[in-house]
């Protein structure tokens, strides 16, 4: 366990070395959220609420979804693909840790860094500029934290899966890009799932994507009732467990199939 915590720490320190570049990032993110804020205000026009969400809830939803993304987002799929292409994965495999767990921990180190140096200051700026609704309900906050941790796990699991597929295809750039668009669209980052037509919502019920962004953001804006929030987190937890199966199988197959290209 100690070695994995060390991994988190190392990645955190590595990110810290590049922190200046995050200050400009906060500015850009704020413009981003600002533009979304006005876009949604215009979409609402005079309507008090759409699909049970008021315009304040909607703008808070957008802001929190993007800020939470800074935490759960990572590039471990690309890193895995690159380590395969460059042959580095051979060395990783003989080291005394589980490669996949190690990658996830690196992702977590990155996430924690962005949470403190990016999301929190960013959130502060955005709340000053725009009228966002922050709940004072401790329950909601606790649910939100738990739900965001679960969304980190699911997003990392999907990244591991996508990264491992490149074991088989060797060049997975297009695939990884496609995965990213799917996640942007179906995770609820750019649109709450409840805005989609019924049939699309029915399909998405059977996919893990809404666990990444939609559920935590809906919990945070209190657009979910307590019951729905608990059910949402159950949904996340189930997917966390279910996704272990394909990861395990793919990992076993990948190790057998692995061709080291140089190194």
């Amino acid at each position: 366990m100690g070695k994995y915590i060390e991994m988190i720490r190392m990645r955190f320190l590595m990110m810290l070395a590049y922190r200046t570049n995050y200050y400009s990032g906060i500015f850009i993110y704020s413009i981003n959220i600002g533009a979304y804020y006005f876009l949604w205000s215009a979409i609402y026009g005079g309507q008090p609420s759409i699909q049970g969400m008021t315009v304040e809830q909607m703008t808070t939803y957008v802001a929190i979804a993007w800020m939470a993304r800074a935490f759960y987002f990572n590039n471990i799929d690309r890193e895995i693909a690159m380590e395969i292409r460059e042959g580095k994965v051979a060395i990783e495999l003989i080291r005394p840790y589980n490669y996949l767990v190690m990658k996830t921990m690196q992702g977590l180190g990155e996430g924690i860094f962005r949470l403190f140096f990016f999301s929190l200051p960013g959130m502060l700026i955005v709340t000053f500029v725009f009228s966002l609704q922050f709940t004072t309900n401790a329950h909601t906050w606790a649910y939100f934290v738990l739900s965001t941790i679960l969304s980190f796990i699911i997003n990392s699991q999907l990244n591991l899966l996508a990264g491992m597929v490149t074991f088989f295809t060797l060049n997975g750039e297009g695939l990884l890009r496609a995965k990213r668009f799917i996640i942007d669209l179906f995770s609820g980052l750019i649109l709450p799932i409840s805005f989609y037509p019924e049939w699309a919502q029915d399909v998405m019920k059977y996919l893990p994507f809404q666990a990444i962004s939609y559920i935590p953001s809906m919990i945070f804006t209190e657009s979910f009732t307590e019951n729905e929030a608990v059910r949402g987190m159950m949904f996340q937890a189930v997917w966390c467990i279910v996704l272990i199966v394909p990861i395990y199988l793919l990992w076993k197959a990948a190790k057998r199939k692995l061709i080291i290209q140089g190194g």
């Binding site: 570049n21 990032g25 533009a35 215009a42 026009g45 750039e173 750019i190 649109l191 805005f195």
Partner: protein, 261 residues
Amino acid sequence: MFYMSIFFQYMSQYVKTKLQYRTDLFVEFLSDLMFQGVNLIFILVVFGHTQLLNGWTRDEIIFIYGFFLVPFALFASFFNIWDFNERYIVRGEMDRVLTRPVHSLFQIVLERMELESLLGGITGLVIMSYAAAKLHLTFHWYDVILFVLFVLGGTFVYAGIFISLASISFWSDARSSIMPMMYNIGNYGRYPVDIYNRVIRYVLTWVLPFAFVGVYPSAYFLRKTEWYMYSFLTPVMGIVCFTLSVLLWNAGVKRYRGAGN
């Protein structure tokens, strides 16, 4: 002339290498289409819940989106410099580029072209024609010329912004994590700028003039007379943006000291 012939030689080499890996090419086309689809779905879903966006109809917004895709495709095909810092500065590749007989920026454009992105322009034209048919737009013969001018203007606006950003890496060695977010901001030029407040409208018009890639030029074809002044400014903005960025680039190159090995 020399530049032209080099350009076409690189282009034909590029096509040859790409055709070697046809499945890859196919997957790339597909993921491009998905990218365009995501944005279109956003517009369609949003207009499932509202009739007008500050007085603009769904089809008008779709038209703007279609227009946006054309200059964006040109930009993405030829100015693929978002990872300039990692690719050229950190690895010391810039040293090699500087020894080449053409302008360093032109050399990078040649090396990094991605012609398959041009497909996005065709998607854009299809989306535009669909929206134009629904809106019963009529066009004059000279609209074609204006279209070309506006598209080129938009392309150079985009290119100018991204070249300027890439030039920053001559001064600071921070990794270029702002680039991907810039792509996001570019999206906001696709919506009528009058929905934003003054600050963001100002930013999108004069600081990061993304509005000249989407809403301003499209406003002309949508016959929104109140925006005509901005529409006709598009080519000018393109030239200004691009010139400034090249000047910045040249200043950066002068400052450049080799890194890496």
